[in-house]
């Protein structure tokens, strides 16, 4: 929740270069951004809010571990859309309906998706109809979202009608090819009608060595008895900054699985919010951080149980090498009327190097008495006993370590519940681990 702590009320410092750049860029490009007058007004209001509040910094409780204001020195200008025909590397091998968005340009849609009964609209079409949502549910922070609202021009809106089960995953591949620093704004959303089901995999990738900024906003709406799985694989370049806001709500009897899998970007922040719109709904989070060098990966989750008989399960795994920092903040709030809620959160960090840092903040805020809620958090290095067990059976040390790391991450990958995607992510984990299972750190 942003805005309700007294700590946010403080004298604003001088605008940073990045904050100033946002206002200047908006003045320069606002005339050419797509959308009706109403959309333009929404954008103008968003940039005003952003200018007033500025970038979030560590004095704001939710940003305690990620000082975006200090880290984001410059905000590059919005990218110029590219027509380069390019396919994704990430999840490129899985059988899926593939939508490709290059450098925040117009999405390229696959043939045959409409045959599934799904409606696919490009964001530019939605904006032309005068729709740009700026008010998101509680728990969705405003600064990044306001910036997104001000500049966003690309993305897709998917609608799965009642009772439709999409036969294979929909893959939204967001590929960055920019040669120089640029900002890419995207907004994707999916609405699943009553009793329908869909799996969406959103992937991000881009070149190393370029300080581009990705700012993405996502809405997932799951109607009564519907099911949605939203996988987000972030493999942005090693100098990139990735900011993601995702808000979701789950209707009665619905089920939602969110699976953020993060290995990329110098700095990334996933801000996810789950709200329950009906009883007997279920929400799951299965997340992974694989971070090395001086990467900072922050996944912050807000689960709002406002209604009875909800279930939420979170499993988050971080593997941290070199001087990487992994941050997981998860807050479960159970409101007074939300009786019989079952909430379980587990966050585990595995540190491969002496200088890695794991910050975990699992929070419970509970106002209903008839609930079962719990959370657990652990951090440490590879269990010597397990290693010994494997080595005693003739497995070399490095292989044994790799095996243990993959098993550690595998638990979260399996929890996604999609075999093809699970396999592809296991393969990504394997590659990452092969690069990072080295001799005992410091020895």
């Amino acid at each position: 929740m942003v805005g309700d702590t007294g700590m946010n009320v403080e004298v604003r410092n001088k605008q940073t270069a990045a904050e100033q750049a946002a206002s200047d860029q908006f003045a320069a490009v606002s005339g050419s951004l797509p959308g009706t007058d109403a959309v333009a007004a929404t954008r103008a209001a968003a940039i005003r809010r952003f200018t007033e509040a500025g970038l979030p910094h560590r004095r704001i409780e939710e940003w305690k571990y990620t000082d975006l204001r200090g880290a984001l020195r410059e905000l590059p200008a919005p990218a110029v859309a590219s027509d380069t025909p390019i396919g994704p590397d990430t999840l490129g091998e899985i059988d899926a309906w593939r939508i490709v968005i290059v450098d925040g340009g117009e999405p390229r849609l696959p043939d045959g998706l409409a045959g599934q009964g799904i409606t696919v609209e490009r964001l530019s079409e939605v904006l032309a109809a005068g729709v740009l949502e700026a008010e998101w549910p509680e728990g969705t922070p405003s600064a990044m979202l306001d910036l997104n609202t001000a500049f966003v021009a690309s993305g897709v809106t998917l609608r799965v009608p009642e009772g439709v089960h999409v036969d294979k995953p929909i893959h939204i591949a967001c590929v960055t090819t920019v040669p120089d620093a640029a900002s890419i704004y995207l907004r994707n959303s999916v609405e699943v009608g009553a009793g329908g089901s869909v799996t969406v995999a959103e992937t991000f990738e881009g070149p190393d060595g370029i300080a581009y900024v990705v700012n993405t906003a996502t809405r997932v709406t799951v109607a009564r008895d519907a099911q949605a799985t939203w996988v987000k694989v972030q493999r942005d370049g090693n100098k990139a900054v990735h900011m993601a806001t995702l808000a979701s709500d789950v209707g009665q009897g619905g089920r939602l699985t969110l699976a953020p899998y993060t290995t990329g970007a110098a700095l990334s922040r996933n801000q996810f919010a789950i709200a329950f719109a009906g009883e007997h709904a279920e929400a799951n989070l299965a997340g992974v951080h694989l971070l090395c060098d001086r990467q900072l990966g922050d996944t912050t989750l807000f689960v709002d149980h406002a209604l009875p008989h909800g279930t939420s399960k979170e499993l988050f795994k971080s593997v941290l090498d070199d001087e990487a920092r992994g941050v997981f903040q998860g807050k479960i709030i159970v409101r007074q009327d939300a009786q019989k809620v079952d909430g379980r959160m587990m966050t585990q960090s595995l540190m491969l190097s002496e200088r890695a840092e794991a910050d975990n903040k699992p929070e419970l805020e509970i106002y209903a008495d008839n609930v079962q809620c719990g959370h657990g958090a652990t951090s440490g290095r590879i269990d010597e006993d397990l290693l010994f067990y494997l080595r005693a059976r003739g497995i070399p040390e490095l292989a044994a370590k790799a095996l243990l790391i993959e098993a550690f991450v595998g638990e979260a990958v399996t929890a996604i519940g999609n075999e093809a995607i699970g396999e592809a992510l296991s393969e990504l984990t394997h590659e990452w681990v092969s690069r990072h299972s080295h001799q005992e750190p410091g020895s």
Partner: protein, 489 residues
Amino acid sequence: MPAVQETIEQVREIDVDKYKYGFFTDIESEKAPKGLSEEIVRFISAKKGEPEWMLEWRLEAYRRWRTMTEPAWAKLEYPKIDFEDLYYYAAPKTAVAPKSLDEVDPELLATYAKLGIPLTEQAVLAGVEGARVAVDAVFDSVSVVTTFREELSKHGIIFCSISEALREHPELVRKYLGSVVPASDNFYATLNSAVFSDGSFVYIPPGVRCPMELSTYFRINERDTGQFERTLLIADKGSYVSYLEGCTAPMRDENQLHAAVVEIVALDDAEVKYSTVQNWYPGNKEGKGGIYNFVTKRGDCRGKNSKISWTQVETGSAITWKYPSCILRGDNSRGEFYSIAVSNGHQQVDSGTKMIHLGKNTSSRIISKGIAAGVSQNTYRGLVSAHAKATGARNFTQCDSLLIGDRCGAHTVPYIEAKNSSAQFEHEATTSKISDDQMFYCTQRGLSDEQAVALIVNGFVREVLQHLPMEFMVETQKLIGISLEGSVG
């Protein structure tokens, strides 16, 4: 569950309104004028006959406090405190410092007798050997009497009020005061540094095992007063001490402020066990009145193999803001925190601990049991951190919350920060209500609902109860019963 007649009667008897320690002692007292200024700080310092450096220290804290803002991050809601509308100094008007118990105002002694605090040494001596407790009693702003001093001094133990320590042992005070909680630490600690009036001072010499429990009993008596006591406890190399602290206050409609600072220093191989039963007046059942308790407690395991253990039972206060912490600086040092926080009525508790691992092979253990009833809010807020050099640090944290009633809240806010890969941290938290199965199991064996709840709650807090000194264990079990009974049924 409909309330049975028995419950109704019991509740009537031991309602929040019937706070047992809510009497007021009519005693003449001397107060400084309301409000806070440099003059008041000088006045307090002069009253205490303090050395010049101490006055300077206070004034510096005061000037810094003027530039600070109240922290607002805790999960507490209360009207803004008017710091200018408080008395910062109140003392019972007895002649000069009493030389023996005979010179202490009999009204005061009667007060402590009502509280069940044995100040008369004979009375204690007449009791069971081994159950002896040396007491430093603090009434509003001043320490009225410290018992068993002679016997303690035989062992070289210094146990006196901090004002006295400033006069008798200025070198020790100067060396350690503010070395754990600096004058600039936080809003309330800084305020305390400027205006603290009294508190206890303990020094245990090297290799001495303190032969009895040391204890301080705090009581706020005067209207509109803030109580700002400061406790400094130094355990020199290889020593051991167990220290108890208890607090009460009269019932009043207005809120009273209590902002204490406790500093503990444990040198090589020393062990300090610090236990608190905090039972300040919690306010009436409409949430009117009660103590605002903003306390900074911190222990510094400065030496290798040192150990500091905090045990707290929090049943009182309208607002509790308190995080007894351990800085694990020495290699192999250990910190422990055992807490029972019971909130009922309109109480709000935001309490927890900080375990800061700096040295090698340091370990810490946190067991926190929160019980929320009525319309209270009960928050555990804790930090466990391992510095980059804290190789082999270990922590185990367990915080469980129990909700009784559907209008209260129980919250858990842990911060777990590991900057060293060999640090091994485990944290688990649960929140639940008393399960129907547990109730059924008990009632099926012939217990009433009341008895069943008492049994289950006692079991819930047992892990912490075990760590309390015997004297407090009995009191605590009663207190928990009193604090909760209004909520069952």
